[in-house]
């Protein structure tokens, strides 16, 4: 593997890790709200959260491009208000990974919260705990294994992200080139051999990651 290839690998791992950390707070909150509460519009929100799993990734990429492009509603605010450029930069890679892996995190964390008997939370309330204390001392710790498994899945998904990233971040060498994009480019160039090391590394990293996630979630038996 060349130095350039290693740069691509480390860049992909960095943006995947960053994107996973970014979606954790919101993902856990949304998962809990879906698992434990009923509220108007819940079905709509649930569907929206799951959309990136079913919509063609390039379509999702297009939506992100329209929203975060320089003239888009969110992109123009970020550009003029904060001087932040999103599309065609590493931030767009993080954005694409975050959006595409969010549903996996929410689904897994939601199941984890549902697996915690609500009796524990009820008894905690009778013992005087506020809702925040119930969440922090009972719901979250008991769901933690499932949440970690969800984060691992999200990371693995981010590592393999391609369609949305290609549209919203482009394939700019050293700036937005991920493992998947690089493999694709090598195929286009006819350099299949150059793609092989990256192929093995990407399969290897994701295999280990998903395996860890499986082990963690199998140990998370509902009590």
């Amino acid at each position: 593997m060349t130095a350039e290839a290693w740069q691509i690998v480390f860049f992909t791992i960095e943006v995947s890790a960053f994107s996973t950390l970014l979606i954790l707070p919101l993902g856990i909150a949304v998962a809990w709200l879906i698992a434990r509460r009923d509220w108007p519009g819940k079905a709509v929100v649930e569907t929206l959260v799951m959309l990136p799993l079913f919509v063609p990734p390039v379509a999702t990429g297009l939506v992100l491009l329209m929203l975060f492009g320089r003239h888009g509603p969110l992109g123009s605010v970020l550009q003029h208000g904060f001087g932040l450029e999103i599309v065609f930069t590493w931030r767009a890679v993080v954005l694409a990974c975050a959006v595409m892996s969010f549903p996996l995190l929410v689904r897994t964390a939601q199941a984890a919260f549902q697996g915690v008997s609500s009796r524990f939370e009820d008894i905690a309330r009778t013992l005087g705990a506020s809702e925040w204390r119930v969440f922090g001392t009972i719901s979250l710790p008991l769901a933690m294994r499932g949440i970690v498994a969800g984060a691992v899945l999200a990371f693995a998904r981010a590592m393999g992200e391609f369609g949305a990233t290609a549209v919203v971040a482009g394939m700019i060498p050293r700036k937005t080139m991920t493992i998947s994009l690089s493999i694709y480019q090598n195929i286009q160039l006819g350099h299949d051999a150059a793609a092989l090391p990256l192929l093995f590394v990407s399969i290897g990293v994701v295999f280990v990651t998903v395996l860890c996630g499986q082990i963690i979630s199998m140990r998370n038996r509902p009590r």
Partner: protein, 247 residues
């Protein structure tokens, strides 16, 4: 009696002799070829099926066995690659067109470069080019920038796109500050304006060859279409779109 037999024979002749040709053509040829197709289909009765894209990607697909009758590339190198692999029908290759490069910005852009050298300035952060290693439009642009010694200063700003039309779209969207595309592409879009024209004499030698593929199932029909492309009617349409028609 005469009329009905005439109609009948016309009907029979067109249905027997109508062929469908698969034409793989460079993305920059999209609009011109579509207009040519309308005229040719009426005249010959054959149907034209197009696959437009980056010549590099099209060549790769043909190499991998994608069924096609004709290949109309934006540079000679891609055609050479197919010729080396003996995928072309001998004697059918000819160079038809040329083109020139322009630097474009969005139609409402406030920063407009006056020369290629201006692109090195800080106000131009992102520059859209078709993939400069593989796609003809990108290769031509890179060769030009290398020739005038600007490539090293500019290459960090390059946002590579899959084909030249994607580079045009990127400039139109305003997500990049400028782009280098064919003059013919800039002319079909109202959302971009030409900032700098690179004269054909200074720019790289751009050449669009066409050839019939050996795997074609309708070689005679394909040859006929290739002839048409070299003929006066097609040349007029190419010229209308801004292509330089070679003698």
């Amino acid at each position: 009696m005469k009329l009905t037999s005439l109609l009948l024979s016309l009907l029979i002749s067109t249905s027997i002799s109508a062929a469908e040709l698969a034409v793989h053509a460079a993305a920059s040829l999209t609009d011109a070829m579509k207009e040519i197709a309308v005229a040719y289909e009426k005249e010959s009765g054959d149907k034209l099926q197009f696959n437009f894209g980056a010549s590099s990607m099209l060549a790769r697909q043909i190499e991998e066995g994608a069924p096609a009758d004709l290949f109309f590339s934006a540079d000679e190198a891609k055609m050479d690659a197919l010729e080396k692999k003996a995928l072309l029908l001998p004697g059918t290759r000819r160079s038809l067109l040329s083109n020139s490069l322009v630097i474009v910005v969005a139609a409402d852009a406030t920063s407009v470069p006056k020369s290629a050298a201006d692109l090195t300035k800080a106000e131009y952060k992102k520059l859209a080019l078709a993939e400069p290693q593989t796609v003809p439009a990108g290769i031509y642009a890179r060769e030009y920038l290398q020739k005038v010694g600007l490539w090293d200063a500019i290459k960090e700003k390059v946002v590579p796109t899959e084909n030249v039309r994607a580079a045009l779209a990127a400039v139109e969207s305003g997500n990049v500050d400028a782009g280098i595309i064919y003059k013919t592409d800039s002319l079909i879009s109202k959302k971009v304006k030409i900032a700098v024209e690179i004269p054909a004499a200074e720019g790289p030698k751009i050449s669009y060859p066409v050839a019939v593929l050996k795997s074609s199932k309708e070689p005679e029909r394909a040859k006929k279409f290739a002839e048409y492309l070299a003929g006066p009617k097609a040349r007029a349409i190419f010229a209308k779109f801004g292509f330089i028609v070679t003698k």
